[in-house]
């Protein structure tokens, strides 16, 4: 028997699709929510750290145009560029919703198209972040340069790592979809990945607002 473990899991999962739980919510979905709750604490800590050390850097580079010790420094942020990559990530949430909607109405082709689309949008966002990080590095901003560099790179870097993991999962789902692993009743698998993906997206909305848009006066 060359049956893979994953298939065995899938078969088992679809053999008992509706287990009665005291919460009224599928165990797998509850676990995903719990995981996302712990992720809230994780990113909450990093965002709080960023806010705590905002405006406390002893020396350049600064996020926005700053006069420090009588010298004028240009800020490293490029708000229009980051707005575009934030928009791209937002759009990937739309395509994720479309992927789930496709499998729920048993549209296998739509599932493949929208999964790949979501992954590609995610990768575009990551490419934008790689470009941004490189650009900041050229302007002298590193993990060690100042408090802004440390808190900024740790916060956005961990978010980027989450997007990367999400892209890997989406590509895995895409390959599985190509091999015809998903039926209409397996839609929960797509839904769970969707929950993770939307969470990562929402976190970016918070980060983008708090770090880039709301500037201290």
């Amino acid at each position: 028997v060359t049956e893979t473990r994953k298939e065995a899991f899938m078969q088992h999962a679809s053999a008992v699709p509706q287990v009665e739980t005291s919460t009224g919510i599928d165990n797998r979905k509850l676990l995903m929510w719990l995981f996302l709750a712990s992720e809230c604490l994780f990113f909450g800590g990093l965002i709080a750290t960023y806010l705590l050390y905002r405006n406390r850097s002893q020396g350049p580079p600064f996020p926005t145009d700053t006069v420090y010790n009588g010298v004028h420094y240009h800020g490293v942020f490029d708000i229009p560029f980051t707005s575009i990559s934030a928009f791209i990530l937002l759009m990937s949430s739309v395509s994720m919703v479309l992927a789930l909607a496709a499998i729920q109405r048993n549209d296998r082709r739509g599932l493949k198209v929208w999964l790949l689309c979501t992954a590609l949008l995610g990768m575009t966002f990551l490419a934008g972040q790689a470009f941004e990080f490189t650009e900041f590095y050229r302007q002298g901003l590193t993990l060690h340069s100042n408090l802004f560099g440390t808190t900024f790179f740790v916060l956005t870097g961990f978010h980027g790592a989450h997007v990367s993991v999400g892209v890997l999962i989406l590509l895995s789902l895409f390959v599985m979809a190509l091999r015809g692993k998903f039926k209409q009743e397996d839609s929960l698998n797509i839904e769970l990945v969707g929950l993770y993906w939307h969470f990562v997206d929402v976190v970016w909305i918070v980060i983008f607002t708090v770090v880039y848009l709301i500037q201290p006066t």
Partner: protein
């Protein structure tokens, strides 16, 4: 906390909250004592460690309450008094409890009882050694010995108490040695434990020791608090427990419902390989980013190989 210079308002708040910790902790201590009250107590090694835990943890908690008095804490800050306090809590609160658990559940996971005489020797050596080690540190702290020092000038008046603490530390080491001997001896030629050596109340004692890999062949139906006890004992007309005939107040024969077969994952090396990638990523962040890529590759290989591994059926 008080010496960080936050001001008197913050100090008062922290003082009050430090006192408040004592309330739930005190409730817990009375919980534990009340659990023992009225029971037919067998003073064997697990219980000795459990009682030792209550006593030592209480001492540790009481020395913690003294920290809530701000002027007194100014004196204790960063001295051996603090070291003594938190070791009293750590060792008394965690280590004694851990050993109680090990002595209690060792028969379940190994199938052999730990030797009772060696166990009691271990307990008394540890209790005495522990107090001889850490009580002198309380005095040292009040005498002003700072923590985190490797050495100190002669003539500070700390020599005697430090010597006593050193002797106590060796007693603790000796007690752990007794424990290790006990484990090796019992694993080799210990008394067979059987499924339920303590006449226990909880479900894990229903299955053989050591338990089969699947634990329960069928999920047991629980119909009472301390269900296993009620399978073994019924109450007579005076409310005393008497051994139940033929397997309990209700039939030990479980109704054979359509319980699912038990799915056990096949053994696999892949989680180990995936875990091996993680420290390499960690080292990579410190030394060289190329290592991050290598570690990530190992991690991903492990995860995907694990997921795609053929089932051993």
């Amino acid at each position: 906390m008080f010496t960080t210079g936050l001001g008197s308002v913050a100090n008062s708040a922290f003082g009050v909250s430090t006192i408040l910790i004592a309330v739930p902790t005190g409730v817990k201590v009375f919980n534990w004592i009340a659990t023992l009250h009225g029971g037919s107590i067998r003073l064997n090694t697990p219980l000795l460690f459990a009682v030792g835990f209550i006593a030592m943890f209480t001492v540790g908690g009481l020395t913690g309450v003294t920290h809530s008095i701000v002027p007194s804490d100014y004196q204790q800050q960063d001295t051996y008094y603090v070291v003594a306090h938190f070791h009293q809590v750590l060792v008394g609160g965690a280590l004694f409890g851990l050993f109680a658990g090990i002595y209690y559940w060792f028969p379940k996971f190994s199938g052999k009882l730990l030797n009772e005489k060696l166990g009691q020797l271990h307990f008394w050596l540890m209790l005495i050694g522990f107090n001889v080690t850490f009580q002198p540190m309380m005095i040292l702290g009040i005498l002003g010995m700072p923590r985190r020092i490797a050495t100190y000038p002669d003539g500070m008046g700390w020599g005697l108490w430090n010597m006593i603490a050193t002797v106590g530390a060796f007693a603790i080491a000796l007690s752990v040695l007794v424990f290790i001997v006990n484990v090796i001896h019992s694993l080799r030629s210990g008394e067979e434990a059987g499924a339920d050596p303590w006449d226990a109340r909880t479900l894990e004692w229903m299955i053989p020791s050591p338990p089969p890999a699947y634990n329960f062949a069928e999920i047991p139906q629980v119909r009472a608090l301390d269900d296993f006890w009620h399978r073994k004992y019924v109450e007579n007309e005076r409310g005393e427990p008497v051994p139940a005939v033929a397997g309990g107040a209700y039939s030990a024969e479980e109704p054979h419902g359509d319980g699912h077969g038990i799915h056990l994952p096949s053994p696999s090396f892949m989680p180990l390989i995936a875990a091996f990638g993680l420290p390499i990523i960690g080292f990579g962040f410190i030394y060289d980013f190329a290592l991050v890529a290598a570690g990530a590759a190992i991690l991903l290989f492990g995860l995907y190989a694990w997921a795609l591994e053929p089932a051993a059926e």
